[in-house]
């Protein structure tokens, strides 16, 4: 069983790090890199949303943290002269810190109330970005430099993106690496003591509090990790598009993050990754349908919900209820 899992993991890693770049350079479809990079980054954000689902909260506020992380990275790079590699963890940590402050009061809410307040939070983030002086209002921050080189002890670990022939490939590898790391962390969390505690929160918060689980601490911790992922995704997005506006991440993006989790399946670690891939890639492929794109996309989503209301991965769920 364990060997099979490792074999699957190895095949997956081989596919995304070797197979896809080879296939793309063979077919010359360089535009696919952008799509796949976006999928990888969005699935990092979706992983965060999934973790909040795991403690039984519906999070529609990931767009707020993606925007926040993006702005932190952009402001640090353009105004404080930080390198991109330094801003990446800083953006995540900043988001996590803010999410602790916001999370302490709002995580007391449950169910639909929490869902609605997080949706409102996305709107607050957008309006704050519009109102603050440091974010340059609606004009946004543009011409952000590409990531520079990352030296460790005089050794150039990652070369300067601007000097590369194909920054697209570099961004793809960066995003995919981050994605793999994120899901490894997520998998580790779920299969640890922390994961068991989170599951107890999901099932019944009063009950788990009554047997001595520190629920308030746990849910803030899960929310902070979730926001960390959101900020990380936002920061890389900014580096790719080299610009950020208050509307870069709006309510629609927050809702999309949630949908990715649902489509993949809430009971499976790989769910948000698969969901992001299916929805984002499907949306991209449907662009041939022109004005019927949204119609077909949404019909497919509704149909999926009618056939597999527990997510695509529930197809493999033979015994029912087995993780």
């Amino acid at each position: 069983m364990m060997n099979k899992t490792y074999a699957g993991l190895a095949a997956f890693l081989l596919a995304i790090f070797v197979l896809i770049p080879v296939v793309i350079s063979a077919t010359g479809r360089w535009d696919l890199y952008y799509t796949l990079t976006s999928v990888a980054l969005l699935s990092i954000g979706a992983a965060g949303v999934w973790l909040t689902f795991y403690i039984g909260r519906i999070n529609i506020g990931q767009g707020a943290y993606a925007l926040m992380g993006g702005y932190v990275s952009a402001v640090l790079m353009t105004q404080a002269g930080f390198s991109f590699w330094a801003t990446l963890p800083l953006a995540g940590i900043f988001c996590a810190a803010v999410s602790v402050l916001i999370g302490l009061p709002i995580l007391r809410l449950r169910g639909v109330y929490f869902a609605m307040i997080t949706l409102v939070l996305t709107e607050v983030a957008r309006l704050t970005a519009l109102a603050l002086p440091v974010t340059n209002g609606a004009k946004g921050i543009t011409s952000i430099p590409l990531p520079g080189e990352l030296p460790i002890f005089g050794l150039t670990l990652i070369p300067d993106f601007a000097s590369m022939e194909s920054p697209k490939l570099a961004f793809y590898l960066l995003a995919v690496t981050l994605m793999v790391l994120t899901y490894l962390v997520l998998w580790r969390i779920v299969n640890s003591r922390l994961g068991h505690l989170c599951r107890s929160l999901q099932q019944n918060e009063e009950l788990s509090a009554s047997i001595g689980v520190n629920t308030a601490y746990l849910r803030v911790l899960a929310y902070a990790i979730s926001s960390f992922f959101g900020g990380l995704a936002g920061a890389v997005f900014v580096a790719i598009s080299q610009s950020i506006y208050p509307s870069s991440f709006a309510v629609t993006d927050s809702v999309n993050f949630m949908l990715y989790c649902f489509v993949g399946g809430l009971g499976y670690v790989g769910g948000p990754m698969l969901g992001t891939f299916l929805l984002y890639f499907g949306w991209d492929l449907l662009s041939v349908a022109k004005e019927y794109q949204l119609l077909i996309y949404s019909s497919a989503m509704i149909a999926l919900m009618l056939v597999l209301p527990n997510g695509v991965l529930s197809l493999f769920d033979r015994k029912g209820g087995r993780k």
């Binding site: 689902f53 519906i58 916001i102 009061p105 709002i106 007391r108 809410l109 449950r110 169910g111 639909v112 109330y113 869902a115 609605m116 307040i117 949706l119 409102v120 939070l121 709107e123 607050v124 309006l127 704050t128 519009l130 109102a131 309510v251 629609t252 809702v255 949630m258 949908l259 649902f262 489509v263 809430l266 009971g267 004005e291 019927y292 794109q293 949204l294 119609l295 996309y297 949404s298 019909s299 989503m301 509704i302 919900m305 009618l306 209301p309 527990n310």
Partner: protein, 289 residues
């Protein structure tokens, strides 16, 4: 000051109608209807088509909006929400469905009515002027009166008819209502239809004043969520209170805070978060919905 209050009342009456539909659907089915804003836009476009394109009287446009949206709501409930709620392991799955329906309605509106801003000609001319203290066009007053009449009608319906009693029973306890012989499926459908109909009616009312466009759906949903959070989800009096409070805050904020730029909504959102930190269930809601 009188002007601000009058504007707030006018905004609040419309908001309350939107929030009523949303909260009704939520209390009956435990479904957060993401598509509510899109239903509202759809209703507006139906009225626009009937009034501006076919040249029929405004009241017929409103009736058409109400009927079409009610049928749409009933169909959505029977063919989409009901099977998903039955099959799904967790109730949150309906959120994906609701968001899918929101996208779907957006697409349908785009294909049927196009992306342009649409409005209908003024239904009443003239401006009401009380000593320069309250200045309000007559058509706005008519809309205000209609909206308040509809709210009153809705409350009467919920309070005094058999269907209304059945729906209130459903909202309190689904299982108990079923044991008492309430046809749960039938009244869920009626409730969803009624909620959608209210959204369509507001759309029809507002198309005469502000016009309507495709992009209004999402922001309207967000505003409606805020209203039912203020008042408490699933409580009818709460939805009305939330609608009027938001209307007033917007009206006051736009006047008082105009000097500081466009921060009214930021202030409203921030105060809402503080408010919810102290009273998570809203003004009149039951704890934990």
């Amino acid at each position: 000051m009188e002007q601000i209050l009058a504007n707030g009342l006018y905004l609040g009456a419309q908001y309350a109608l939107i929030a009523l539909g949303l909260t009704l659907i939520f209390s009956l089915m435990n479904v957060l209807n993401f598509a509510h804003g899109q239903m509202y836009v759809f209703g507006g476009f139906v009225t626009y088509t009937v009034v501006a394109q076919w040249g029929l009287p405004f009241i017929l446009g409103l009736v058409a909006s109400a009927i079409i949206l009610a049928v749409m709501g009933a169909l959505i409930e029977v063919f989409l929400f009901r099977p998903v709620i039955r099959k799904s392991k967790r109730d949150e799955s309906t959120m994906l469905l609701a968001a899918g329906i929101a996208f779907f309605l957006d697409a349908v509106i785009l294909l049927l009515f196009g992306e342009k801003q649409r409005g209908v000609p003024k239904i009443l001319n003239g401006v009401f002027n009380w000593d320069m203290r309250i200045i309000m066009p007559y058509d706005r007053i008519l809309i205000l009166v209609l909206a308040i009449a509809m709210i009153a009608g809705f409350i009467a319906l919920m309070q005094y008819t058999k269907a209304g009693r059945a729906m209130r029973a459903l909202a309190q306890d689904r299982m108990a209502a079923q044991l008492m012989g309430v046809d749960v499926d039938r009244y869920s459908m009626i409730g969803f239809a009624l909620g959608a109909m209210l959204a369509g009616l507001v759309g029809g009312l507002l198309v005469t004043i502000t016009g309507i466009n495709l992009g209004m759906g999402g922001p309207t949903s967000v505003k409606a969520f805020m209203m039912i959070m203020i008042g408490g989800a699933g409580v009818i009096s709460g939805a009305i209170a939330g609608g009027f409070i938001l209307g007033m805050m917007e009206s006051i904020g736009l006047t008082v805070l105009a000097a500081y730029g466009d921060i009214t909504y930021l202030v409203i959102f921030a105060s809402l978060m503080v408010f919810l930190a102290f009273r998570p269930q809203g003004l009149m809601g039951k704890p934990w919905g």
